[in-house]
Symmetry: C2
């Protein structure tokens, strides 16, 4: 099969540069496309707050409300802060660029590394949470969460490898379904309470709170901070909006934050008043929904739409990750081939790597959202802090009109997220944050080494200090054709060799003098003009005498290079390949690291009906 | 490092054809070299008989003596039968040749497959038994038998890969040590009984035997038949003996059988009279030796020499296996490269494969001799039967002087071993024999497919139906050099391309029009005589436009072939390699299966201190 056909069948049509160009979309669509990551975290953030509190005792769950209010305050601060970013970069810009431009390359790389780790964790956490929601509704999947999660990732991966044209409308559906079903849940839950259909299990406002270690309270706060993941997506994606893009983006960012706060506060409040206690086998949202809806269609619709938006959130990482990689590769911090998103074959390596890492994480952490979350928040808040700090620097440098207000809000944002970062890093350190704290500098080190290598190669290869020659001279080279007999494949190789040099020698390693005479006889008939050189092999080795002869020729002929033309076979079936070309492989391996030697295979295609 | 140097350090000096030639040795040395496999089985054969009997009860152990006598009868029959083989093939010949010559190729392949499976099992069983003897003396190793076994195999493997010069004298030592220590054991054991120092635990001759299922009795017999493994080695190795080789071989075969019978009967009798019961943690020979010697130096010497001869027996498979492979490869039933034993690099694949399979078997069967034995006997007796049957056919065809006697003994041998084969196959079927019964036809199928493939290739490649051309014509071919910029590596590739064709074109895939102009400017200075072809890439793919251009060139130019010369880099460090040559790799992969396209890499060696 034709190679490009094969590629097309497996991986779909290539994306045209023109098609990929900005299809600008209205606010309501952009909201759906860019907020799935942020909104979907409502599905697990409440539960993450409840778990550390439940360690102290059920009474401590009352803290969930004040902790949530602190997180809401954080959301507001970060939202305002990112509105300043949109103002300063009306074309849209991610943390990597903002930080690189304002705080220097190394800080930019730290932000880049944080984001790459983040995108990977977005896949793992979102899929794990999605699967937990499915398993809450369909208990059959309880024991098989990792396997189901891995299967889901493989499906998302295949969709992305195949490259379906993702229309914004397609994305809008799950997001609005999710929004609708959560609003119904909150509305119905509140109604039942107010109508007195269900007596509240816990009072909304507590007069006294039980004693609780500060560490656990901070840990509950840290866990809840996952509600903020993905909040930066709108400021990265300003270029998606219809004109005036940056105004629309700012408005949409506020909408999103309002929705996020409403859903998050609504769920947390109801969970508390309904007395939801975190359970091993069921998510908090599922427990709450069962209490409100009972085992009705609405319950299953809610679980389904939750799972759907979580998978959509995982899917966003599949476009963010390769895009960030290509930015880093264009700056030479990642292998060059990642820079161009044009070749799906190359692009797909990133998708494959992302998927395998996420599956690995799922299995290591047994598909458990709670175990993955401690790794998640570090990267998010590190990139928040760096990005806001970059904005602070930006304002200090530019001092544009009304810069002081922007400076204040970004400073507040940077300071707050830094405090949260420190809280998260300390309270979650042993639970897994240490992994990310080690990984980030390691990534930066690798980025820098790669750049250093490319720079050195550039210096070594540059022509700029040389003077062009009057004329490019052809090299002179002798050609050696190793043969083990005379057949059609050898004839092809000899004819090819004759076309590339006037100095062609066929080399035959003698293992059996009788066979030599037979081949020599054929040689006189078929290729009398090519010297037939017999190499003795006292140790019965085929490779050694050839290598020695090649060394000899190199010493005695004046050519700058030496070409070895090897007759090879391409067999019809893969297993037959093992029966051929072993000598070719050994010669190739032996000459691989020698300078000025070119090894060329002339392939004979066997028809082989066998 | 130089390739041949590297090879020499890792694998040792190559064996010269002259050195490998037959060093003829006296009978006493040949006995040591050729009988380690057969004699070492005394270390476990008795125990294998006791285990099935012990299932019925301790009283049933009395059957060990009659069962052993049946096996001794079998040894005598097989010995006489193999003496006929030596007479008929005074140059020495293995089962594969004897069977192929007399019963046809397919029967020969069945014998060959049986032997190859056998050699693998010889390694696994001998090492397992050796380790069990070590663990009997040093209980520390009890829980780690597989690991110790694997380590032992790795050491044997390394010795064989390194290719130590194995002198016959070195082999003689463990064999005679083993013989000496077993004779002392039997002598001392008998003396203590006769002197009344130890009262016998069981009477030597029983007046009544307990009832026992025939199946278990036959199973005990089957298990004991492992005593016969390796008995054919002397008839295979006649060429090792000093003149008159075949007479000396016949004498030595009788000696060996006498020693085998003496040791086997002696150990079985003593084990019975001393009341040895098979134990989980200790071999029967070790239990017996402790009863006779106590915890003295003699006990440890016996265990040590037993372990030593068992490892020596395993080692013999390391020369038998590759030799048989080379015979099969010469007949084109295995990949051609196995035919020549001259290149250690090739030879070592066989050694590696043998070792890994044996280690795999050790782990699957938990390093337990008893579990491996059921697999062992099938191959042994199948090759015995076929080999003896081949001799029967031989006598019927030739009818030389006194053929009737030989015919009778070989017929007796073939018939007896066939009966044993059937007994072994049925009594051991579920215990593991089924694996071998499935594997043998599978191997034969693979052998035949490989031969079929080679024959077809031969027909396809033959020149014999063609007439030689008056003169070998050079092919005409255009050369395409894909480039991504202009640097020293590209200059080298262009100069090489100019040397091999007059039709050279450099192709540049345009991703960014500005960069194109920059490169075009450099091009005018450095390589004006080479056409600079810019390929547009609407989808931002690097590979697709190149492949399309190559197709175009192929259609529009008259050349028979088309060469793509790719500038590649060889980096100083392995990890840097990943940062380069991806495009080269993709082009190579895309053109791999196209006919009449040659892909040549011109490598630029980076110095790279980075």
């Amino acid at each position: 099969m034709n190679f490009s056909k094969l590629k097309r069948v497996l991986l779909g049509q290539p994306l045209s540069s023109h098609l990929a160009s900005h299809e600008r979309i209205p606010k309501w669509k952009a909201l759906a496309v860019l907020s799935s990551d942020a909104l979907s975290s409502v599905a697990y953030a409440t539960e993450e707050i409840l778990i550390p509190l439940a360690i102290v005792g059920l009474a401590a769950l009352a803290y969930s409300l004040p902790v949530s209010l602190a997180i809401v305050a954080l959301i507001i601060i970060v939202t305002i802060s990112y509105r300043q970013t949109i103002d300063a970069y009306p074309g849209g810009s991610g943390a990597y660029f903002v930080v690189k431009e304002n705080l220097g390359v190394r800080a930019g790389l730290v932000a880049g590394a944080s984001l790459m780790i983040d995108y990977t964790l977005t896949v793992a956490v979102s899929v794990a949470a999605g699967v937990e929601n499915i398993a809450s509704a369909v208990p059959f999947f309880q024991g098989h969460k990792e396997v189901l999660g891995a299967a889901v990732i493989v499906v998302i991966m295949l969709f992305n490898l195949r490259g379906t044209k993702e229309s914004a409308s397609l994305f809008a559906l799950p997001t609005y379904l999710f929004l609708l079903s959560f609003l119904i849940l909150i509305g119905a839950g509140a109604w039942k309470l107010l109508a007195g259909e269900i007596p509240p299990a816990a009072p909304l406002i507590h007069e006294t709170y039980p004693a609780i270690p500060l560490f656990l309270l901070l840990r509950a706060f840290s866990s809840g901070c996952t509600a903020l993941t993905g909040i930066e997506a709108i400021s990265d994606g300003v270029s998606l909006f219809q004109h005036p893009a940056h105004k629309n983006a700012k408005t949409t960012l506020v909408w999103m934050s309002v929705i996020l706060v409403a859903l998050f506060l609504g769920i947390t409040t109801l969970a508390h008043v309904y007395g939801v206690v975190p359970a091993e086998q069921e998510t908090a949202v599922s427990v709450l929904a069962r209490k409100v809806f009972g085992d009705t269609f609405l319950y299953y619709a809610l679980q389904g739409s939750t799972a759907l938006i979580l998978l959509l959130a995982a899917n966003t990482a599949y476009s963010d990750f390769p895009r960030l990689s290509s930015f880093l590769a264009k700056d030479r911090f990642l292998p060059r081939q990642l820079a161009s998103l044009g070749d799906r074959l190359v692009f797909s390596n990133g998708i494959l790597g992302l998927s395998l890492t996420a599956i690995f994480l799922l299995f290591v952490f047994q598909g458990d959202t709670h175990r993955l979350i401690p790794l998640y928040a570090i990267g998010v808040f590190l990139s928040f802090t760096l990005s806001q700090a970059g904005m602070v620097r930006h304002h200090l440098r530019r001092r544009g009109p009304r810069w002081l207000g922007s400076f204040f809000f970004n400073f507040l944002g940077a300071f707050t997220t830094l405090v949260v970062l420190v809280v998260v890093a300390t309270t979650k350190f042993l639970a897994g944050a240490w992994i990310v704290i080690l990984l980030i500098p390691l990534c930066v080190f690798v980025f820098l080494r790669i750049r250093e290598h490319y720079e050195q190669v550039g210096r070594e290869l540059t022509l700029s200090e040389r003077k062009p020659p009057p004329r490019l001279e052809a090299v002179r080279h002798a050609v050696i054709v190793p043969i083990s007999g005379l057949h059609r494949g050898v004839i092809d190789a000899l004819r090819y060799a004759l076309s590339i040099s006037h100095d062609v020698r066929a080399c035959y390693v003698e293992l059996d003098p009788e066979a030599t005479e037979r081949v020599r006889g054929q040689w006189r008939l078929w290729a009398p003009q090519v010297p037939f050189i017999v190499l003795p092999s006292p140790y019965r080795s085929v490779i050694e005498p050839l290598l020695e002869y090649i060394d000899d020729v190199e010493k005695t002929t004046p050519g700058e290079m030496l070409t070895v033309v090897i007759p090879e076979f391409v067999t019809a079936k893969w297993w037959q390949q093992m029966l051929h070309n072993q000598t070719a492989f050994l010669i190739r391996a032996a000459l691989m690291f020698r300078r000025r030697r070119v090894v060329t295979s002339v392939r004979y295609h066997l028809k082989g009906d066998c």
